[in-house]
Symmetry: C2
Subunit: 192 residues, 2 copies
DNA sequence: GAAGTAATGTAATATTATTACATATCATTG
DNA sequence: CAATGATATGTAATAATATTACATTACTTC
């Protein structure tokens, strides 16, 4: 294989996707997290996560397929879906149900030591909350999720419903896009 | 057209689906609601809503297609999706994103005069909250939704995010199914 | 009843996701 | 190291969900 890139050194090879240093860093971090949970961050999975981290909006499975195709291998749907499943199970990405698309878990980007609110509380409670902008397509993972979860937990308790996972998705218009629309036009709504 | 049914009298013909009196009642009610909003509750839409009301769990678009086929007409996907869009727009049904399936709005079943929490608050805020049981497949629309919505609204305000619609979906195990699993076995988990 | 609007029919196609089975890669351990 | 078993990936086919574009029909209004 001829891969002569001039990227700065990283723990893992670069695969030719030209991931930024910051993303390489996050990928390395993600790899360590998986290892801690007995998971194997393979090259394939790493590539997929890298592509999701690089995007400025949720990415669909077939988008990822296309992007992976451009670089040597030509994976088929099961490949991508298996990688996505792995990343979901390890809390590295989230699926936005309303978009059938995927975003990185914000905690990866903020480089915590893995004390994120989801995947915690009880055996294993996967849960996340998002703001989805209809104008720019940007998605923001809500930080003060605990309050939302608490309310939900209370409701479930009252109904004797065992909560295993929860998704909260709010659609609307983000601050930037709202400003760009009302105030001065031509103010380029940047994704998030 | 020859339609000789011997069903008990109702505001509208029965189409041969054998909808119960209770459901016919709800359909009539829904029809009045639409009319009030300047919408036309056609036979097709009425049938689709009736089928959704009759089901004990969320129904997929293609399930509906199958069921409609059995009764004279043979609609194609666009037909069903158009009917579903109409019913969604008029707040008569909800889409469960995690299941790509549809449930009746609980307020239809409880026969309010249309003062339900969603489709209100602001110009038109569609929003709903659900508990989804993984065991029996039953879905419950959460009644005390206001609290959840309030928390979300607060969060959005703080971020200057304009909320247009929101969905909250909790997956887990309902009370009945949990009991059936732990306690006495063979206690037939009834859908919800 | 003619014109305009809303609803439905129809065929083709797009998008998202899974099944089943073959192959390859990695980790152990004897 | 070779044999083994477990994990991961490749591949082909197909399933499930949803939309586009355009023709037709049915209702409404004047
Ligand atoms: Zn997250
Ligand atoms: Zn925006
Ligand atoms: Zn409702
Ligand atoms: Zn149940």
């Amino acid at each position: 294989m001829n891969m002569q890139t001039r990227t700065p050194p990283s723990t893992q090879p670069d695969d030719g996707y030209g991931f930024s240093d910051r993303i390489q860093h996050q990928l390395d971090h993600a790899g360590r997290l998986c290892a801690g949970q007995g998971g194997r961050m393979t090259q394939q999975r790493r590539d997929v996560l890298g592509l999701i981290l690089s995007a400025s909006a949720p990415v669909g499975a077939y988008d990822l397929l296309e992007q992976l195709k451009t670089s040597g291998r030509k994976p088929a749907p099961p490949t991508i879906y298996r990688a996505l499943d792995f990343l979901l199970e390890h809390g590295l990405i989230h699926r936005i149900e309303r978009l059938s698309a995927f975003v990185p878990c914000t905690h990866l980007q903020h480089e915590h030591t893995h004390d994120h609110a989801h995947a915690q509380t009880e055996p294993c409670l996967h849960s996340a909350q998002f703001l989805i902008c209809r104008t720019c397509g940007g998605v923001t993972e809500i930080a003060d999720a605990p309050r939302v979860l608490d309310v939900l937990k209370t409701i479930c308790d009252k109904k004797n419903f065992t909560m295993q996972s929860a998704s909260v998705e709010v659609e609307g218009v983000c601050e930037d896009c709202a400003q760009a629309a009302t105030g001065q036009k031509g103010h380029a709504p940047t994704p998030n």
